[in-house]
Amino acid sequence: MRNRLVRLAITLVMALGSLSILSAQTFAQQGTTKAPQLKTAAQSPDLSGLWAPRPDGIRINTWDSSDPYGQKPELAPMAPWAAAKWKEARPPFGAKQTFEGINDPVQRYCDPPGITRVWMYPWEFTMIQTPQMVYILYEFTRVWRSVAMDREHPKDPDLTWMGDSIGRYEGDTLVIDTIGFNDKTWLDHTGHPHSDALHVVERLRRVDHDTLELAVTVEDPKAYTKPFSGKKYFVSTSSPMEEAICAYSEFDSFQKTVIDPTTKSPGK
């Protein structure tokens, strides 16, 4: 009886072993059928991972390489209506920086920062590449983007905060083309506006293993008389992303506790 039980146990173990091998083969076969997609991913430049701003780029306030720190933001090639709108901006950074009456849509209302401005904040981001889609997850405000790698723009895209992004690889560079924005975000930290005709091209490439270069070109024929562009660099990091979230209640509390007292006249 005991020997029979032992034989039964051995038989069961062998059967389970066979099943495991069969499962492994099945997975391998599935992998084989998806091989062309994996090959495509392998051929693209690997930009994936965690990236943090390189210290020399932390103070970049515009995407105009002639004025990266926003010390002469009035010189941007703005159309008259855009210049008038910019004059109303009370930004937290650049030559016009102020604490009084700030109307920065991010600082005051936790609005999404927009794709050109989100790069300017001193937080990390994560790149995830798949054959069909590239995802960019930003630590600041926990906002994320998807870049479609297998289609063109819609002919009449909805106008959204993040726009419609499509991408392609040119050698070692990921080129992201985005249109379809609403006009509610600021282009940069100095309050430059944009219209719904905004067209942004971002080029991302590794200049060395630990350094990522971002070149941004801004074209908006309604708001600017000519395109302009700038660069910023990021370094590979192992520090995990944390909760740099934008909660309106926290931002409002901070405004009232810290910012507002500094804008009152002494003695009031």
Binding site: F99, M120, Y121, W123, S239, E243, I245, F251, V258
Partner: protein, 130 residues
């Protein structure tokens, strides 16, 4: 003398244009970065929260009057990377903090951003700085 030393005070160190303004979620226009003052007193509350951590503390001014100071720090995620934790201080702790004061003289200062962290000592132990 000891009592005098323990007494909370504010010292103007003055005209140290060493900190470089940098971007977090807002600028530094409300602060006078050409001045650094030292505030000594007792922590009343420590906010470990976004968009920036904030220290609330009681400090006596030169006239012996207690003022509630508010000290701005970097965001918690950025302080974490510098070696701080949410337990860096608690209500009742003795604190000596270097800050750039508000332009308008309000008892508000900034002690740290993404690019700098001024000296803060809690119960005799300095916190990490940049």
């Amino acid at each position: 003398m000891k009592q005098k030393l323990l007494c909370v005070f504010v010292i103007a160190v003055g005209l140290l244009a060493v900190s470089i303004p940098a971007n977090a979620h807002h600028g530094v226009a409300g602060y006078d970065l050409t001045k650094t003052i030292t505030v000594h007193g007792t922590v009343t509350k420590f906010d470990w929260s976004n968009p920036h951590c904030v220290i609330h503390m009681d400090a006596k001014n030169v006239n012996g009057e207690v003022q509630n100071w508010t000290i701005e720090l970097a965001a918690p995620s950025l302080l974490n990377r510098m070696g701080w934790t949410k337990n860096a201080m608690k209500a009742g702790d003795d604190i000596t903090a270097d800050v750039h004061p508000a332009q308008n003289g309000a008892p508000v200062g900034i002690s740290g951003t993404i690019t700098f962290q001024l000296k803060i000592v809690i119960n005799g132990q300095p916190l990490p700085t940049r």
